[in-house]
């Protein structure tokens, strides 16, 4: 890089005019004989003609003669001629001689052209590249007083370049900045700016650099190849030093190679044609050389650039990485997206795809991320990031508990091409593992187990094998396949001495043995668990389970204290519980045992202990329910009622406190069986008062109190309330099991199929653990009945019976099951089902009659008329009083009908007559029909 100082020639001419004392013509070459004035005039003329070489001897002669003079005029002449002589040397290309003369000039006085002399000297050192000397001269120039703008500009330009060349980076910036700011020639301005950037990069003065960059990038300097290469190199160095911010700002200034080359070509073309035109016009050789050098420099930098391996994509990728690193995710995303779109199959394209997806997840653009992954998987199932991306998507769905989303990826997981690559195999097993959990969490235990088996069987090196054995055991256990579950839990324990699930596997072993009715083994497992892992999170449950085992044992003379041991375990269960659920289970199981032993005060004490221990996390409503029961047994009925009312009021507005609903039902029971008429009225008044004074915001509590009030008034009022709630399209968010039960029953009573479905769904979703859930199943069963979908009816009943068995309130299920089987022509099953009704003492009543009648129907349908007659006969003989004699009347009629079919007309008539004589049936509406029938037979 070479620069000239501005206005150099022009200033020199001005000096020469001043120097010329006369304009005489020197014709002789022998200057020794010439007078001083003629000598000077001769030199001046030659200089004006441009004959610098010719002027040199004359000027030397003048200097020789005037040099020793001490008078002011003589010294002035000597100095002026020294200056002119130096200029002449410069003009003839002998800069070193010129420099020597200028050195003498600068050592003497007067120095009227000191500034110019200094600049010329500096220029002389340019050729010899003596930068230290140039720096010194420039500094000397700058130290002069009253410098003009032009001098300041030139001095700074010289100083900046000299320091730049000496790699005094930081010191070069200021003078170059001055020169750039004051340059009239845009080319010089640009070159100064480029040097500044390089100097700042080398000096690592980032802040200052970034202050310059916007200015430079408004000019064509940004296309300078060396500038771009400098920035790229610096960017890379910063990036490798983890200095991301600076790396980013450097990298992003780098222009694409094609833009740089394009600009360089245009520039070469312009400079070349201009140079050619100027040569034709005639310009100094020095200028020609200088401009040729400039063109060559551009060509060389172009060549360097062309020889560089492609950098654009790598730079773009790095910029994307940095953007992502500094949390400018969207900028990173669009860059990676662009690279990926540009070439989807190249290594950098695929890597960009991966990066773009990672960012999309970072910025919660999950849908786009998934779309992109799916597209990639469809296009390139064998792509190098296929498994990585799929696993990422699966993990994200799993974390977000979108289990159906996880399961939905099964097709892709299973269609991944076979591989022997260890990393890929590891990823593949990860995916099966997550898929298994997707199924597990979605309660699809069979499919979950299959996926765990895939890992156990096909990925034996996988880190998930041991866990898969444990969790497969869990899937078996959840399906009540205790045998296989036990095998897995035992295997896990045997193979994983320090396994994460070792304690849990032992606990589950106990559960499985319990399920397999290996009670002794179960007890031993729980005991071992308690002894080995006394602080484990499951220890409370182990105590509770062992308590259950003890409680179920028959007390004997040899072992009379089973219940005591059970109670001890339950107490431990409460103490060791880490969750309120664990404590609640133990506490209420213990309460049940105390109840068996009629230890009412102990129940009260235990519940208080439990509530103190768990405070607001305790199931207070349930506890109060138990306390109330115990108080009633202890004759403290009013205390129980007060506690119940207080609990309803305190917890009743929280729909999740299901114990409140139990209390309501218990309160109604207590009122009906333990309170006097007067006390019942008092209770009704209290409820009314509470309803009157209730905070209008407590809508759940209001509804609960209304339900309690209705239930206290009897079944009909309660049923009417259920119908009202249904009619009013009550917001289900306000409902709880007590009100939902009434609404379910009302839906059944009114045949409102839509409501049956809606209420069932809400009930099951929100109160799955409720004791009143059977109302929902009943509604669902009636819905299927209304839809004449017998299979679904039976499914629904199976579910309900699976949960509630043969509880007193479940008779409806068994009778509907039998009726449905009968309707389906499954006579044997139907008769067995009817017969099962008779086996449940709690169902004694009209259900018995109905079941017996149903059995008759089965036999009649099967053609076994004798047996059918026998069942019908039993209906009117055994269950006369049920349902106001309805079933007895039906029995009489069916019996007579069978007798007629058997040809025993007389017996039939007698049977009908007996019905009319029977006080339970002779007033039944069916009696009229019988009387008419007998008339037909001519008898009354």
């Amino acid at each position: 890089m070479k620069f000239l100082c501005r206005s150099y020639g022009h200033a020199l001419k001005a000096t020469l005019v001043a120097v010329a004392l006369s304009s005489g013509v020197a014709v002789a070459q022998d200057y020794s004989s010439m007078g001083i004035t003629d000598l000077v005039g001769s030199a001046d003329r030659m200089l004006q003609r441009g004959d610098y070489r010719g002027a040199i001897p004359a000027l030397i002669e003048v200097i020789n003669r005037t040099g020793p003079l001490t008078d002011p005029q003589g010294r002035d002449t000597a100095q002026t001629c020294r200056f002119q002589l130096a200029r002449a040397y410069y003009q003839v290309g002998d800069a070193p001689a010129g420099v020597t003369v200028l050195e003498t000039y600068l050592e003497n006085e007067p120095r009227k052209k000191e500034r110019m002399a200094l600049r010329m000297m500096a220029q002389g050192f340019f050729d010899t590249q003596e930068w230290d000397k140039i720096e010194e001269l420039a500094m000397r120039l700058l130290a002069l007083p009253d410098l003009e703008k032009e001098d300041l500009y030139n001095a700074n330009l010289l100083l900046g370049q000299a320091r730049f060349r000496q790699e005094k980076w930081a010191e070069a910036v200021e003078p170059l900045g001055y020169a750039a700011k004051n340059a009239k020639d845009p080319r010089v301005e640009g070159l100064c700016q480029i040097m500044i950037v390089r100097a700042l990069v080398e000096a690592e003065s980032w802040r200052e650099l970034f202050g310059w960059i916007p200015r430079i990038y408004r000019t064509d300097s940004k296309y300078d190849i060396s500038l771009n290469l400098t920035l790229m190199k610096a960017g890379k160095a910063r990036f490798e030093d983890d200095d991301f911010l600076n790396a980013l700002l450097l990298y992003r200034m780098v222009l694409p190679r094609e833009k740089l080359l394009e600009f360089a070509d245009v520039r070469i073309e312009k400079l070349t044609s201009k140079l050619e035109a100027d040569i034709k016009r005639g310009i100094p050789e020095g200028d020609i050389e200088e401009r040729r050098t400039e063109i060559t420099d551009i060509k060389e930098s172009k060549k360097t650039l062309e020889e560089l391996p492609a950098y654009e994509d790598e730079v773009t990728f790095r910029i994307g990485q940095i953007y992502a690193e500094v949390k400018r995710y969207w900028e990173g995303y669009v860059l990676f997206d662009e690279l990926y779109k540009k070439d989807r199959t190249s290594e950098i394209g695929e890597a960009s795809m991966l990066q773009s997806v990672l960012i999309l997840y970072d910025i919660s653009q999950v849908e786009r991320a998934e779309e992109r992954i799916i597209l990639y998987l469809e296009e390139r199932p064998d792509g190098q990031y296929a498994r990585t991306l799929l696993s990422m998507m699966e993990r994200d769905n799993l974390i977000k508990q979108n289990f159906s989303g996880v399961i939905g990826m099964r097709g892709y997981i299973e269609s991944m091409p076979a591989t022997q690559d260890e990393d890929e195999l590891s990823l593949q097993s990860d995916m099966h593992y997550m898929l298994a959990f997707g199924y597990f969490q979605d309660r699809k235990y069979k499919e979950a187990g299959e996926q765990f088996s895939v890992i156990i069987d096909n990925y034996k090196q996988s880190q998930h094998v041991a866990d898969s054995i444990y969790y497969r055991g869990m899937t078996f256990m959840m399906q009540a396949d205790y045998k296989n579950a036990l095998t897995d839990f035992e295997q896990y324990q045997a193979e994983n001495e320090y396994g994460e699930h070792l304690s849990a596997a032992l606990f589950r072993e106990g559960v499985c043995r319990f399920g397999l009715e290996e009670i002794t083994g179960a007890e031993a497992a729980f005991t071992k668990f308690i002894d080995t892992y006394p602080e484990d999170v499951l220890v409370s449950e182990a105590y509770s389970m062992r308590g259950d085992i003890e409680a179920a044992k028959e007390a004997t003379n040899e072992d009379p204290h089973t219940l005591d041991r059970a109670l001890t375990d339950y107490r431990k269960g409460i103490d060791k519980a880490t969750t309120s659920l664990q404590a609640s289970y133990a506490a209420f199981q213990a309460a049940k045992v105390y109840k068996l032993e009629y230890k009412w005060q102990e129940i009260i004490d235990l519940m208080n202990y439990y509530m103190d221990r768990w405070e607001e996390k305790a199931d207070v409503a349930e506890s109060v329910f138990w306390i109330g029961q115990a108080q009633i047994e202890l004759g403290q009925v009013q205390d129980a009622v007060s506690a119940y009312l207080s609990s309803i009021e305190r917890f009743g507005n929280d729909a999740e406190q299901q114990g409140v609903d139990k209390i309501i039902l218990e309160l109604v029971k207590v009122a009906n069986f333990h309170l006097s008429e007067e006390d019942r009225e008092g209770l009704a008044v209290k409820l009314k008062l509470k309803l009157t004074n209730i905070d209008p915001r407590y809508e759940v509590l209001r509804l609960r109190l209304q339900v309690a009030q209705a239930l206290l008034q009897g079944d009909d009022i309660a049923a009417a309330m259920g119908a009202e709630l249904l009619e009013a399209n009550t917001d289900l968010k306000l409902t709880t099991p007590a009100s939902l039960s009434l609404m379910c029953d009302a839906a059944v009573d009114t045949g409102n199929v839509d409501e049956m479905q809606r209420l069932y769904d809400y009930f099951v979703t929100n109160y799955e653990e409720s004791d009143l859930l059977w109302h929902a199943y009943r509604a669902k069963t009636y819905m299927h009945l209304a839809n004449e979908n017998d299979k679904e009816v039976l499914w629904s009943i199976d579910e309900a019976q699976g949960m509630f068995g043969a509880e007193a309130f479940m008779g409806w299920a068994q009778i509907i099951k039998a009726d449905t089987e009968f309707r389906m022509g499954k006579l044997t099953e139907a008769e067995a089902s009817y017969n099962m009704v008779m086996g449940v003492p709690e169902w004694r009543g009209p259900l018995f009659a109905e079941a017996m009648y149903g059995m008759g129907n089965c036999r009649q349908e099967a053609g076994d008329l004798e047996a059918a007659h026998s069942f019908y006969q039993r209906v009117y003989l055994l269950f006369k009083s049920y349902a106001d004699g309805d079933w007895a009347a039906k029995g009489y009629l069916a019996s007579a009908d069978i007798l007629l079919k058997m040809g025993r007309e007389e017996d039939a008539v007698n049977t009908l007559k007996a019905m009319l004589e029977d006080p339970y049936t002779n007033t039944n509406p069916l009696a009229e029909k019988v009387r008419a029938q007998l008339k037909k037979y001519g008898s009354q």
Partner: protein, 296 residues
Amino acid sequence: MNKSILCLALSGVFMTGIAAEAAPIKAKLIMPGDKSWEGSIVGREVGPNGDWIEFSTGKSPRPIRLGANTIKELVFDVNIDQDKLNEMNQNREYERIISALDRAMAPFAEYSDIPSNLSRYNALLMELHYKTKNFDKTLEFAGKLAADDRDPELQEKGRIYQALALIDGERPDEAEELLSKYGWSEGLSSDAAPEKLYITAKLMTLKKQYADAMELVAKVIAFNSQDPDWMQPAELLCAEVYTELGMYDSAEEVIRQISLLYKNTNEDDLAQQLKIRIEKLRAEKELNESLESEEV
């Protein structure tokens, strides 16, 4: 400084060769086919007989009369100290420049409907009014420039400021219509012009479609980083949209870069204000989170 004195001083800065309003205005008149005359405009006559410009070349005693709509261009002799103007612009003394330019342009107001060399000053006024948030005025100038097809670059600039003024003036429907008219709402890929991406991003921001806006403004930044004219406002918009998206760390990172790269600019000032807003939003968020966790 007293405001009126200041205005006078500024007038002095800009107007060195402008005649008084009533006096003839020195100008070069160019007709279609590029035939031109040097002289002065001495008047304008608008009446039932047409719209006439009276122009004196000084060679004949009576001015020539030319139909205003037949004139291709008027080149006025406007003498403005460009260096001073640049300096004031750099110092962000926008109101002062507007005031001075208004005065400088006043003598030519009567001829503002005729194409002239005043367009570049009108463009400057358009930008200045935009910077001072006077969007109606911006639209006034931008509309004229956008309708003038003699200088495609200025015309494009006029269109850009039309869109910007409509968006910043919160007139999304009109802005959308304009973008659609200019075909800017299509082809917003990575190689789209930065101004097109930026303007559409701004419109999306106004419509609270922040993710869409973010993607567009990210394209300006990612693919036009060597274009300081659009990078500067784009980085500010980027920080704003990150804030709206609740991505405060990202927004603060952008602000850090703005203050590093664009010190002492409007964008830097606004970024610093945004930083304060983010601090407030972050505090509110943390408070809400702590309240929520207490509730849990």
